[in-house]
Symmetry: C2
Subunit: 205 residues, 2 copies
Amino acid sequence: MLKRGYHHGNLRQALIEACLHLIAEQGPQGFTLSEAAREAGVTPAAVYRHFEGREDLIAEAARQGYEIFGDLMDYAFDKGQPSALAAFEATGRAYLAFARKYPGHYVAMFESGIGMQRTPELHAAATRAMGVLQKSAEALSQHIPPDKRPPPAMFSAHIWAMSHGVVELFARGSPGSTSPFSPEDILESGIGVYLRGLGLIAPDR
Amino acid sequence: MLKRGYHHGNLRQALIEACLHLIAEQGPQGFTLSEAAREAGVTPAAVYRHFEGREDLIAEAARQGYEIFGDLMDYAFDKGQPSALAAFEATGRAYLAFARKYPGHYVAMFESGIGMQRTPELHAAATRAMGVLQKSAEALSQHIPPDKRPPPAMFSAHIWAMSHGVVELFARGSPGSTSPFSPEDILESGIGVYLRGLGLIAPDR
DNA sequence: TGTACATCAGTGAACGCGCGTTCACTGATGTAC
DNA sequence: TGTACATCAGTGAACGCGCGTTCACTGATGTAC
């Protein structure tokens, strides 16, 4: 926060962090360029030295989010080896952990209305991150008999949907916050039931 | 759209519809009181004859959404009788159908940031709608052996999360829109796998 | 080591804009007699 | 059926506000000699 003289030193990143902070606290529409500049101790006009405008700033925040997200997923998946099942479950848990630890990034990525195509850099980061989920699903897919094996893209979609739904409905304020269960429990048991449905967990566990 | 003279006749509902339309097209932050008034062919000040302000209008839109939602769920559940399983699946499909048919309501309910507690009427409508989901889950729950039966609130949470996740990620623009599958297929197969995991569908179907 | 100068990050004033909200008002409607 | 009057829905002008963006500028930094 402390400026060192006239030049900020690392304004670009400071603005991104202000953006993330504001988005996390007040939602995507709560973020204003002016407020972010204020938080970084700088004039709104200074923002234009580093970004093309408001949306460009959000896009960069989202890009960094996909970068972190991809790394986390990749790590969770690798760590779960050699069991594909364990790897898959770890990936699911990592998803929720990410949403909790990086709420600003999460919102910038999934709730800000910024299209994945907005910048080439954003698109590349998002594609890579989604690729990790896909890879994880494909590895798990090997363990299902080929004739009854659903397309990997399909069940990676299921897991993603359930994870995202849990985050949106149960991990923040409204509207499912009245649930007596923690988001972690909901997601873990939900994925458990789902994997059992695929025949990947013994019915009795 | 046509005003009949000085008095609008049904301004209150016209404003709500403009609100829903704007929210559906441009997201919750794309909705402005002034624009809604313009769309209803009326001065912004006229809005205050019917609502306390901007947020109050959104809350009423959301309330009507919960009302419709509750009715639809209730109907889908009843129609699926006497099989609890069929009723549950119908309820899941009705969820997606609702999100598709009433996008403005859906966004007002789940993405506008309006708290369920904002007005007593909104709270009542939301509670009732959630009660229907719960009832559906409880009925289905009877068919699971008591010792391995998860709490109904738990698996209604799972289904809700997956449904909501599918809507958010695959039914609109970003970011999962690149998926080769339709939201309907994703949700239906996802719920299928899940119910199989609960032992409610034969593994081989 | 010292000076001249190019580079560039940030300033601050200004802009036009649309917003939500308020106010005293006026025109239309409906009811009492 | 006709008139007087209360009710109330909508007007239109005005407000203060913070926004995103632009511009010519200035102060700090770093490099060449």
